[in-house]
Symmetry: C2
Subunit: 209 residues, 2 copies
């Protein structure tokens, strides 16, 4: 079965959200000195590919360990959103309404995937507008993913996150989708098993059906 | 499809290998002050469930990003090794030889799974002895996992790692297997997409077949 890795590479050069929280990788043991290599990693819970839990934006929201993994595994559709120049609205999504189903996973492939994973942070990334988020919540998808480090910007009150997280739609940010064709796949996204945090770094793959 | 999470929980209380490299989780943004929660994480590449790349112990070994994910996904067998009191030898494994197949993934469920993931480090954990590692390499399994933070101890020259890594058998440490029955499953282990490191933290699951 063909596996597509759709995860953001993590290194010291990885783009940070708003250029904050640069990854550090420290050498703890050195091969020449110790006969073994060993590193430690310092990163934001929102570095690269990651899953947001409701507690990121909601006062009483659940933490990442309270999201069951069945919400991050299953049938997914990669939608071609490259014609949406700035933001993904309800109207952009309506053109794909037959592919957006209750219990499904929607992955938004935008022109963000043209950016390199080590480019300076792009404040003008294509985002999911509140109307698009509300539509996906109404359609009862179980998760939505996007190909940049955030799923929204420039919206006071974070209505995209609020619409999704209040409806228990899991938010996956920092995917890389430029190398996969739009269409249907089996999706598996496994965040680190962090206890009590509002997000966790993850690895995500698509498998051809 | 039933999903079993077999990953070690990660928190500030997580047991560290030889009680080193305690995880830290720092609050970057606070809900009351900032209206959003955000954390940063500092952990060893060998914290909890993780994958060792050949470069951990081999001078010219490949790094974690050079291990293709198909080696961490596929048919697996959980073997009951709870009767092996101290170490898993070739003889322990021979009793299961029909379940150990070329291209398969072998997961060793030992009495280590009785230890809590926040207990003080146990230097007497059950490990895979060199003879057992050599046998698994000869059988050409593609990966082997164990339910403690290391797969070997007390063997000068690290022959267990050397036998496995030299034969391109991927090593997965820090699994939790106490809650799964021995038998056959579909296994998915996804390490963070670290570039150039000798290991990476991972999440691992079993799916009932």
């Amino acid at each position: 079965m063909k596996i597509f890795d759709i995860s953001w590479p993590i290194s010291k050069a990885t783009t940070g959200y708003k250029d904050r929280y640069i990854v550090s990788i420290d050498e703890i043991k050195n091969f020449n000195r110790d006969g073994v290599r060993e590193t430690a990693i310092h990163l934001s819970s929102h570095t690269g590919t990651h899953v947001d839990a409701p507690s990121h934006f909601l006062k009483e929201g659940r933490t990442i360990d309270e999201i069951t993994l069945d919400r991050l595994i299953g049938d997914a559709v990669v939608l071609d959103m490259t014609t949406c120049a700035e933001r993904i609205t309800r109207d952009c999504l309506l053109a794909h309404e037959n592919d957006i189903v209750a219990g499904g996973i929607v992955l938004l492939r935008t022109t963000n995937s043209d950016l390199s994973p080590t480019d300076k942070f792009s404040p003008h990334f294509v985002y999911l507008e509140a109307s698009g988020a509300k539509y996906l919540a109404e359609k009862k998808v179980k998760a939505v993913g996007i190909d940049y480090l955030g799923i929204e910007h420039s919206q006071p009150g974070h209505p995209t996150h609020e619409n999704l997280l209040n409806a228990d739609v899991v938010v996956i940010e920092g995917l890389r989708l430029g190398h996969v064709q739009p269409g249907k796949y089996l999706f598996v996204c496994l965040p680190l098993n962090m206890i009590g945090t509002e997000a966790a770094p993850a690895r995500a793959i698509l498998m051809a059906k």
